[in-house]
Structure formats: C-alpha cells, structure tokens
Symmetry: C2
Subunit: 310 residues, 2 copies
C-alpha cells in the first residue's frame, strides 16, 4: 500500500512521454489541476465517456487488469470511431480498493493509448470499495461527425466486420475454470473479448463514404441498430449478418462488445472506394420508411441488449 | 426500478436545454455515441476529471444527493478556476446501485451546470455496488493557463477567501444525529461544506494579475500549497491565514474542500487592480528560495491532507 502521489508518479511511467509528436510547446499533462492543451484547429470536437465496473462489465476472475485497462480506453475510442472522428486525449479516473494493482491497469491503458494515439493527460485516483474505471475522451474531425440520426429509407446498412466473437470468447472463458487456458483455436475469440479493437480507420472511411448514420456494436446488434433506427425514425430489413468463426448466430445478433461499426449510406460505390485499403464492410440490409419494421429475413430482430437498472 | 434509456430521457430534463446560448448549429449533446461540439476558437484548452465516492468523499447519511451532484461538478470547476480558465462542457459518469435517486443527483449537477455555465453534454450510467460520480470537464482560456510550477522566490502568496468553513461545517454535521438540523448561525458553515463555490471569476482575475502559480484548496492549505511549492521548486513563509467565522485555525490550515484559490504573484498593485470588482484576496505570505522552508510564523506548516491509499 502506498500514497496517492507516489502512485501517480509510478503510473506516469506507463503513460506516453510528454515529448512525443503532437505535444505542443506549453502543454502540460499530468501533475497540475488540469491538463493544458493547445486547442485543436479542426472545426469539430467530440466528447465521450464510458465506465467499466468490476463485477458488472468485467469479472476480474476472468479478466486481467491489463485487459480491463485496455477495454476501458478502447470502448471510449470506439465511440469516437462511431462519429467518424479521430482521437484526441483521454482522462482516466480510477476509483478502487487499496491494493488494486494500478500498474497493471495503467499498462493496459497505456498500451491502448499509444497504439491508438490517444494519450492519457489526466484524471483522478480515489479509493472506493469496488473498482470503477471511468474514462473520458476528446476527439476531432475536419467535417461534421456522423450521428445516429441521419439514416434515410433506401440507404444500405453495412457492418465493418463479423459479429459475435466477443460473446463467444466470454462463453469460452466462463466454460473454463477461472483463468484456465482454452483450446488454441479459441484464442482468437478470447482475444476479441479481452482486447477489442476500436474501428477508427473504418469510422473515418465510413464518413468519407458519405455515411448518413453510424453506431458501434457495444450492446448487441439488435439493440444498437435499434438506437440508430429510433434516432433516424426509420425501420430496417436485414438479410443476414456475418457471424465470426466459432460464434453462434445468436451471439452475433445479441452478444455485444464486438465494437464493429454499423453504418447507413446511400451509395455502395462510395463505400467500396472509401474502404479500398481496409477490410471491405458487408452490406447486411437496407433502411425502410416504416419505423415498426425491424426484421432479419422473416424474423423480428429483437432489440435485446444489456441495460443497467435504475 | 427503470431501464437505463428511460432514466437517460428523464435526466435530460435536469440538464440545460440544447438551444441555450452557446450551442452552435450542428451541435449534439445527449443521445449519440459522443457529444458533438464546435471546436472552441480560444487557443488554450484545459481538461480535468475528479470523482466523488459515497462513503469516501461524502457520507449520504449527512449529504443529500442534490449536494453530492453539486459537489461532483463544482470540484471539477474549481480545477478549471485554478488554471485561470473558463468552463466549457462536462461529461458525467454515474456508477451506482439500482434505486439510486438519479433525479436528485442530476438536479444538483444541473443547478451547478446552469449557474456556472458548464453544460453536461454526455456521460454514462452504469450499475455498481457503490455510488461513484465521475465528472470530466473542458475549459478554455485566451492566454496561457496558470500552472502550479511558476512560483518564484519573492512572489507574494494570496488566498481568495477565508479557510476552514467546509471542515467546520462537516464537524457540525457529524456532531448532529444524521440529518438533524444545526443551529441557524451554523448554516453558513454547513452550506460551505455542502455547496462549495468554484472561484471562477477569482481565477480569471488572478491570471489577469499576472499570477505565476495557482492551485485550489481541496486537500488542505498545507497539502495544496505544498504541491505548488514542490512544482515551483520553492519554499514559503506565511504570516497568518484568514480563518472563516466559526472555524478553528486547524480547520483553516488542514481542513480542505474550501475551494478557495491560492496564488503567487510578483506585483501586489496588479492584484488589487485585477480584483477591483471582487472580494479582495488576502496576502498570506511570500515565496522563498529554500524549498525546505515551509513555515507559518515560526511553526512548520505540515503538508497534512487527505491521500487515498494504493
């Protein structure tokens, strides 16, 4: 057990150094009342916040603190991706019990921060009986971000990758005894659950393709596409969705935490062009005018998904 | 008990409407993956985050949820004030048990947001066994923010108001039986504890006065002035500090949560000018070159203050 200020000093080692590219003269990150940054020159700013709670979003018997840190930042970066924006900076607030291995947590946070170019420039450390990692991120865009509300009847619906891998990975972890290893061929699924990838390049490409609406698949396709349809005042008809190898169709439709992006766009040729250097997204259906109509094939697509209770 | 999305809809009522002054065309606050804002045109941005935890920072047997919400935002605004910056926008993440009266919490958050001009534009609601309210705020300034690190030997040290009221208010609350009323003449102290005031105008004035370093008194004068001295590489000699009516000298020196600002500046005349329309700050001492020398009168000023344990 150590004091807060010693802990902050140790953790700073896991955060990208203050002299990397992008740090302008006069900027100050860790160690003052607030981080000081040059205001970005791009015309649009996005702000998002998401928390990860031990026992609710993650089970530390199945998840390392490194992975928890990774997920706490990347689920926020996924929100930035879903706007078609680029990451700016992150603030990380950790509330947790004395004895929490903060270095492990910040190792995961720092890895994601470095890989995706979103330095952690501040935050707070505070004691609490349960571990809650709250992250807030900024992002910027040089054009209007893609909202959930712009989908129009006739637009195609695309998804940036197969779904269900995260839910399948969690199923495999739960089937094992605690941290017991799983079969090698299952490791890709476990990885998809433990180290989700924010689809930042894909979000930018979708915006370049003229995407009319976009959301990330965090709660489950049915729930998230439902949010997009609600915001846009539309319904949808899906043909089928790409299911990750090793996942079930139910996991793909309702599993959540895949962090692939779902977007609507009017012109398939622009989508193909914009994704020329990326994995090509799959068109899974189209928007329709009747907001009640939300089907996959002949089935109703249930808006099942995780909701916290209040 | 209700669902997350219904709860968000209800809470939006407590947040300033999206059409008030300052909301530019194309901005979107609540309801998308991220809030969308016009990038501010001022050259400097500050980012700060702070959390309030039930049972650690606040005792819900002594504090209402309205006051907890107020404090969660204002302790962040105090960090913005301590940079000499103006508030921008806030993100609020609430992790807590089902049944938490979110409307009461957001009533307090919304009041502070409206009064201090820092609208809540997003965040997250998630379940957790204990209530943790994490807030992140942005701010802007048209000149370089005031850091902790610019204090120089010979600078005067000022405080923007008397200290100890918050600690005295907490003492009175604890002395009572739970929420029992306290004597009318004590209510100012209880208010100072329950509804701290971020010294935003004072922070701007200090920057205008050429303040070389600044910090807010959140942990206690000894601890916070110690942080400033550490960052500036200086020591200090204090004469005496203004003690709030009804507070003890010990509460003023070590109590914390007063959220007054302490700043260093070279020119007393500029300080008087810059604070012409505000309560005049009190010069409490001066910076000295020896970083070991940290005294009030002939006593060592202990850097006592709250530290979380890790």
């Amino acid at each position: 057990v150590t004091g807060e200020f010693v802990a902050i000093g140790r953790l700073a080692r896991h955060l990208p150094p203050q002299t990397v590219n992008g740090v302008s003269r006069g900027e100050v990150w860790i160690g003052d009342d607030a981080a000081v940054l040059r205001t970005p020159t791009r015309p649009w700013t996005v702000l998002a916040a998401d928390a990860v709670v031990d026992g609710v979003h993650a089970d530390l018997r199945l998840t390392t603190l490194q992975d928890l840190g990774w997920k706490a930042l990347t689920c926020n970066l996924s929100d930035v991706a879903a706007m078609g924006a680029d990451p700016g900076h992150a603030l990380v607030t950790v509330a947790g019990p004395a004895g929490t291995d903060l270095e492990a947590l910040y190792e995961g946070l720092g890895s994601a921060a470095t890989i995706y170019g979103c330095p952690v420039v501040g935050g707070d450390l505070t004691n609490a009986p349960v571990l809650v990692v709250s992250v807030a991120v900024t992002g910027t865009a040089d054009g209007p971000p893609v909202l959930r509300s712009g989908g129009r009847a006739g637009d195609g619906i695309w998804v940036t990758g197969p779904l269900g891998a995260s839910a399948a990975g969690l199923r495999l972890l739960r089937g094992g005894s605690g941290r017991a290893p799983v079969a090698p061929e299952d490791m890709a699924l476990v990885d998809a659950h433990a180290r989700p990838v924010p689809r930042l390049a894909e979000g930018r490409a979708a915006r370049a393709a003229g995407a009319t609406a976009m959301i990330d698949v965090s709660d489950g396709l049915g729930a998230d596409l439902g949010h997009l349809a609600d915001a846009s005042g539309i319904g949808f008809e899906l043909d089928e969705v790409p299911v990750a190898a090793g996942a079930t169709r139910a996991e793909a439709l309702a599993g959540g935490e895949d962090y692939e992006l779902v977007f609507t766009a009017a012109d398939p040729a622009r989508v193909v062009d914009a994704f020329a250097s990326l994995r090509r997204p799959t068109q899974i259906g189209r928007c329709v005018g009747d907001p009640q109509r939300r089907v996959i094939g002949t089935e109703q697509l249930l808006a099942w998904g995780w909701q916290h209770r209040w």
